[in-house]
Subunit: 145 residues, 2 copies
DNA sequence: CTGTATCCTTTTGGATACTG
DNA sequence: CAGTATCCAAAAGGATACAG
């Protein structure tokens, strides 16, 4: 993804991706724009934290600190940023109750919940095949010294 | 992922992840190690090119240059590196025919093909909902100036 | 509690030259 | 053709201080 520091550099140009400069001798637009779509979505879902947040919010709405506690290694800054991106993409909602101290609830949207489905498929694949991958890695690494 | 430059820094320590320093007051091992597994697999599949390579090889085996031509923006270096990582994880095989000039064929393994399934689910989700995301982004951005 | 801003390190990845 | 190595720019992300 572009969007260097979405939480920080707010007034910058949003929604800006690396459109390949319409290179001539390559694949066609149909294919390459579909590739962009896939990369685009995968970039959102594939970054370090988005999936884990989506997954937590798929169960029930949660507030900021609750999420931070339940996600283990996530930093304050990255949680904010991840939530902002997910909100921007219409995958979660943010509801702020003007109390004191402030309370903010995050929840998955319909879109976010629909994303959770294929994502959970991937999660299941990961659990099922993780050992195979680890094994393959070890074998690969020893044969290379 | 760790593995700074897998194609380059070969003799370094492989298979090394950021094990959280067994922090006391947080989630339990069961949860946090499962989270690592998910992040781990997602890191492989979620980087800039792996998925696209997996997807191409899911259709039929291909050789290096063929892949490079069909993937559009990928650089020589990143294709090598991505293939090396996928090979290491047991997701693709590399078969080199000692001809001159050399010919190398890459193919998805059984494991790689099984990964393609949930991945294609995600790809389908991406195609279906990409417009929603784009729309949400635009709405979000205009309400922020 | 929630969020923003700053600083700084690590990682990612492109360009490019060179090898068998 | 396939692969490796070097160099360098950009991006990701953690720590931390601070504000409402």
């Amino acid at each position: 993804m572009t969007i260097t520091d979405a939480a920080t550099a707010r007034p910058a140009d949003p929604a800006e991706f690396e459109l390949p400069p319409a290179c001539e001798s390559g694949a066609f637009d149909a294919e390459s724009s579909e590739a962009r779509i896939v990369r685009d979505v995968l970039a959102r879902v594939g970054d370090k934290w988005s999936l884990l947040v989506i997954r937590m919010l798929h169960e029930h709405p949660m507030r900021f600190t609750e999420l931070q506690r339940s996600i283990d290694g996530i930093s304050h800054r990255m949680l904010t940023q991840t939530l902002r991106n997910l909100e921007r993409d219409g995958l979660v909602t943010r509801t702020s109750y003007p109390e004191i101290p402030p309370r903010v609830e995050y929840a998955a949207t319909e879109l976010g919940r629909s994303l959770a489905l294929p994502v959970l498929g991937l999660v299941e694949w990961a659990s099922t095949h993780h050992a195979s991958i680890t094994g393959a890695r070890e074998r690969f690494d020893v044969t290379r010294a």
